[in-house]
Symmetry: C2
Subunit: 305 residues, 2 copies
């Protein structure tokens, strides 16, 4: 086993992902679990971390860099937001050291926007990773998910961003609302998704009524679960695309997210005549954590020189 | 106690409301409970009914008329939908008799629309009650709630209708979503509601992004639960009003629903320059059930004459 140089952690609302990395950033070992912020009290974070480090036999002198909700006010140790517009290459310098613990642990800040009010925690690290990979990128980065982010990137900085609760709404409508009775069986229908994207983007004001129609069509006629689910997804993603049009209309779009979800967004954007490419979110998170760790350490060394 | 002539029941998805009525329609006794369709198997309905009738000492020969989800496919006994456009004054004639039971029990049909697909169960009875009260009404009836209905009424008939899941969405966003953390305390702010109505109706495409901003504003600045809740309500009702504009733009609007909710819709419509008046939904349900019972009985008598 290569020597572990540092630990990178993505500590979100619902999940915990840890990588043990060699000095060159290659992954030596990894672990994860459902130990997200929402299930922990402040005093639990340190124990959860040490238990997971013990599983991988990590020495007490190996430093840790963390991004995500662990840095929220209700998390482990608040890492105040960077205010946009903000460069990301110096993000490691703003990392907050967790006090009262022997191990060297730093938590990265999130980003906030004052007007219109907006926040992110975790996505800024993925964007930092992407900018490490493509330092001269000028355009829009979209991170689809529970709370989809649309981020204008220019001059190595986040300029501004928007958030749509599309993933959280899809989960509610498909699993809990009255529409859930119409999508009990698995399946997917590209044609229904495409048609819903078109209908939501050409007649966006009709979406609130078209949601209930998904249920009604099954009650008075024939509609498969696959068609119902795809239509719901298309209506909600279509609504998001209308709301975020200034972000994708004239810019190059890069998607960072889970592969199946990115594929849907690429399909939707193609209907609107926009070409987008997708990058894997885990890779970008790791790149961002590595870059922050190195920067942070570099600054640390020069400070003590 | 006046003599009970018949029993009227509104049997919905989550609730059961029963009235014992004199021949002139006045309420002699009443009871209710959480015995909605969603908690019952088909075989349970008869027992729940007889238990509640026994509580009020109702004779076995007293007939029962029911509206609502008890008539759904997954309910007690399917009462097929009337297809719009449909008159409502003869609705009692389409009531379905529950078989295999000694007592005379009839369930009223719902209404369906083929294109765009839509259904209602229970609201048609309130509209029938309203038309009994105002037989010459021409205009729009709005029934705000879990699934708000907008119904064009003309020539004593439902012409067409729309449904928005506004109430169900409000419950999700305010009690379960990430926004719920921003409205933990009770309270209301009219000014925030009014501003959200204005913003949702003048810039409807921005609503998906403005929802998350409710949370972000609390994280980066100051916002009370009262303001957050009122803003959420205004954004969702505003979105509904944009979706249903053809229904309120040029028509007289009558609201039938719970008083506090009707007040919000009147306030929202006033901002858009539309005057509306509100009627109590329980009164309309009772009027509709009474009218259907009388019509049904009248027809019954003439059939046997």
């Amino acid at each position: 086993m290569a020597q572990v140089s540092f630990i990178a952690i993505d500590w979100g609302t619902s999940s915990f992902r840890l990588w043990a990395l060699a000095a060159d950033g290659s992954v030596v070992a990894a672990t994860d679990g459902p130990f997200g912020m929402s299930r922990l009290k402040r005093g639990d974070f340190g124990n959860v971390l040490e238990e997971n480090l013990a599983k991988l036999n990590i020495d007490p002198n190996v430093p840790v860099i963390i991004c995500g909700m662990a840095g929220a006010k209700q998390g482990w140790c608040e890492a105040p937001y960077l205010q946009v517009p903000t460069r990301l290459d110096a993000m490691g310098m703003q990392a907050v050291k967790v006090q009262g613990i022997d191990r060297d642990i730093h938590i990265l800040p999130g980003a906030k926007q004052i007007l219109p009010a907006n926040v992110m925690r975790g996505e800024e690290t993925q964007i930092a990773g992407f900018l490490h990979h493509c330092p001269d990128f000028e355009g829009t980065v979209c991170l689809p998910g529970t709370h989809s982010k649309w981020v204008r990137v220019s001059d190595k900085s986040i300029q501004d961003f928007e958030t749509c609760m599309t993933g959280e709404q899809f989960a509610f409508f498909s699993q809990q609302s009255v529409l859930s009775h119409s999508m009990l069986v698995d399946g997917w229908c590209d044609e229904s998704f495409d048609r819903a994207i078109l209908s939501a983007t050409t007649e966006p004001h009709t979406v609130p009524c078209k949601l209930f129609a998904i249920r009604a069509e099954m009650l008075i006629g024939e509609q498969s679960s696959a068609k119902a689910r795809s239509r719901l997804s298309g209506l909600l993603i279509g609504q998001e695309l209308v709301a975020t049009k200034p972000y994708w209309r004239a810019n190059e779009v890069v998607l960072i997210g889970a592969t199946p979800l990115c594929k849907l967004y690429i399909q939707a954007l193609e209907i609107l005549g926009v070409k987008a490419k997708a990058l894997d979110s885990t890779t970008m998170t790791l790149l961002g954590l590595c870059a922050a760790h190195k920067f942070h350490n570099g600054v640390g060394i020069s400070n003590h020189a």
